[in-house]
């Protein structure tokens, strides 16, 4: 099944012809290269090249790139198949949250390749497919969906009992998630390191609110453990090139510069221990917050939790909304601004706020053609960003919804309908959506915070009082509460950090006064 084209070419031709065929293949790869070499605000360091194999084909990558980034750079769209119907799937969130990019890396199943750094001679394979991700014979199940209604697994395959082992093997191969690494069996795997860290405040999320909270706590003498999934601190600011809002202390700077500044400030505190990249995976017994870092497990035993876990983009529901090429806004920004890779060549943006216009202008900065901005709002003439997009001749469809995406194994076009029933077909190979957010509050929920549906945010988030306290031991802040813009996130973070430290008996009367001032600021800003 593996078809290493380059080696294949070398084998069947004589040396001279083989070399020529190899060169042609290399030229083809260069033409398809999606990397950005010229960007108005960013510079990308690409030094040493390395290569890896995905489904038998060899791909080039630069050191520091993830497998996912290198695949997008090579123009690969379909990277996996869905669990039940084996529909083609591509990268969606690019931050290790969606189920689409799980693949087998060097024999280890369910590795999220959008986060996994490329190493020399890495072998990546799609899991649970018959052939490979592009041609999967199991995808016939998509057409036979009438035979597999929801809940069928409870009734079928039970009788006759004797056939169960056969069924089991079949089901595991079609609908399982990966195979156990057989070659590792019997070998003693290298034991992972487990560290126990005691802290006063554990801050989860190293975005603006998290950093600002950690700094507030540390200033008052609390021992703070700051956990973030990114390689550096800064959260969503790291992959945004937009100017930050003018009310914050960082007015006039671009978001990624603010991220750097905040991260540099956090590092100067000796009582903040930073764990990044480390993914908080749960709150376990005795109040231990477990985080997976690159060298092992970190167990943090804090007196107070502070969650500033942010948001994910919400998936819009329309026909074929899972086609490869339909990606979140965040994903497009991460690809363009962290890795310097164009998410596609002809883009469409589907939005319900100004974020869509910001994204459209960022796509234009990266030399991606923007064929349309589809806006769910009736009117955005108030928007400051509108002119930037209009001046670049990007058609904007107001009061419209995307109702269908079409394409075979990759996005080809979308269809939109306006309020007057007018339908448009827009050609694009990538659709970036920014239609609402969903707070990440699993950890807060586990720590005992009550979740409640917030009509303004149109999603569930943690309840909290005016001091950002959610329950006796937990504080929340930042975008996970739907907070925007940056100045508010920083304020909320500071208030939460301050309140958490005060509740531990740290600080003096001056801090209490600051808390009162911040509380009025935050509630006044929230009302406006």
């Amino acid at each position: 099944m593996s078809c290493d084209k380059t080696r294949f070419a070398r084998q069947i031709y004589s040396n001279e012809q083989g070399r020529r065929a190899e060169n042609l293949l290399r030229l083809g790869k260069c033409l398809k290269d999606q990397r950005i070499y010229d960007h108005p605000y960013l510079k990308f360091n690409r030094e040493r090249k390395t290569h890896f194999k995905f489904d038998g084909n060899e791909y080039d990558a630069y050191e520091g790139e993830t497998v996912g980034a290198a695949l997008v750079a090579a123009g690969v769209k379909t990277i996996s198949r869905s669990a039940k119907y084996h529909r083609p799937r591509g990268f969606l969130c690019f931050m290790g949250r969606c189920p689409n990019c799980m693949a087998e890396v060097n024999g280890v199943p369910n590795v999220r390749i959008c986060r996994e750094k490329v190493s020399q001679e890495m072998i990546v394979r799609t899991q649970n497919v018959f052939l490979n991700s592009r041609v999967d014979l199991y995808s016939v199940l998509d057409k036979l969906d009438f035979a597999f209604p929801v809940g069928f697994q409870y009734k079928r395959f039970i009788r006759p009992r004797s056939l169960w082992p056969f069924y089991e093997r079949m089901i595991r191969s079609v609908a399982g998630i990966g195979r156990l690494p057989m070659q590792l069996q019997g070998q003693r795997a290298k034991p992972f390191h487990t560290r126990l860290v005691e802290a006063d405040i554990a801050v989860v999320g190293g975005g603006p609110a998290g950093i600002s909270a950690a700094i507030a706590g540390a200033e008052m003498g609390a021992r703070v453990a700051l956990v973030d999934e990114g390689n550096q601190l800064g959260g969503h600011l790291r992959w945004n090139t937009d100017m930050v809002d003018s009310r914050s202390e960082f007015a006039g700077m671009r978001a990624f510069q603010v991220a750097k500044k905040l991260a540099d400030h956090a590092v100067t505190f000796s009582n903040i221990s930073i764990f990044a990249p480390a993914i908080a995976i749960g709150v376990f017994s005795e109040g231990i917050l477990a985080a997976e870092s690159s060298d092992g497990l970190v167990e943090i035993k804090p007196k107070r939790y502070l969650f500033a876990t942010g948001c994910t983009d919400r998936l819009p529901i329309f026909e074929n909304n899972d086609l490869p090429g339909i990606i979140t806004k965040t994903s497009a920004q991460i690809l363009m601004h962290l890795y310097g890779i164009k998410p596609g060549n002809e883009a469409a943006v589907y939005c319900s706020s100004d974020e869509g216009f910001v994204l459209a202008s960022q796509l234009l900065d990266a030399a991606v053609r923007v064929n349309a901005v589809v806006d769910e709002r009736k009117d955005a003439s108030q928007s400051k960003m509108l002119d930037t997009v209009v001046s670049k001749d990007v058609p904007i469809y107001f009061n419209s919804k995307v109702f269908r995406a079409s394409g075979r194994n990759r996005l080809n076009s979308i269809e939109t309908s306006g309020e007057d029933g007018q339908e448009h077909e827009i050609r694009c190979d990538v659709l970036c959506f920014a239609v609402g957010r969903q707070p990440v509050c699993e950890l807060a929920q586990q720590a005992g915070c009550e979740l409640k549906y917030d009509p303004a945010l149109e999603s569930a988030t943690a309840i909290h009082d005016e001091h950002m306290r959610s329950n006796l031991e937990s504080y929340v802040a930042g975008e996970m509460l739907g907070t925007q813009p940056l100045s508010m996130m920083l304020l909320e973070g500071r208030l939460a950090g301050l309140s958490a430290a005060l509740s531990l008996g740290l600080g003096d009367s001056a801090r209490l006064r600051e808390q009162a001032d911040l509380t009025t600021d935050v509630s006044r800003n929230r009302r406006s």
Partner: protein, 93 residues
């Protein structure tokens, strides 16, 4: 590819699947979760929870505030078992 409106990417649940399940009496989010597997895949509801709450409130014509939010279980990301079986913790700090 058959046209489908996918709500849950992990378990390949379409809007129609959820509507059928609600019609068959699995109208509570906890029941729906157990019957269809929504919010139980590798993403643990990160991409479906909000959509499911809104779909449910539309189908049952209730306010979304009244729909109970299911418990999301750890680990929140796929984690290696070897990591959890890493042995006794060493004290630090």
């Amino acid at each position: 590819m058959k046209p489908k409106k996918v709500v849950c990417l992990c378990e390949d649940l379409t809007k129609e699947d959820l509507e059928d399940a609600v019609e068959n009496g699995f109208g509570d989010l906890e029941l729906l979760k157990r019957f269809t597997g929504v919010c139980t895949g590798p993403c643990q509801g990160k991409f479906c929870l909000t959509n499911v709450i809104q779909l449910l409130s539309e189908m049952k014509s209730t306010r979304p505030e009244l729909i109970s939010i299911p418990a999301l279980r750890p680990p929140f990301r796929p984690t290696r078992l070897a990591l959890l079986a890493g042995g006794a913790a060493e004290e630090q700090i």
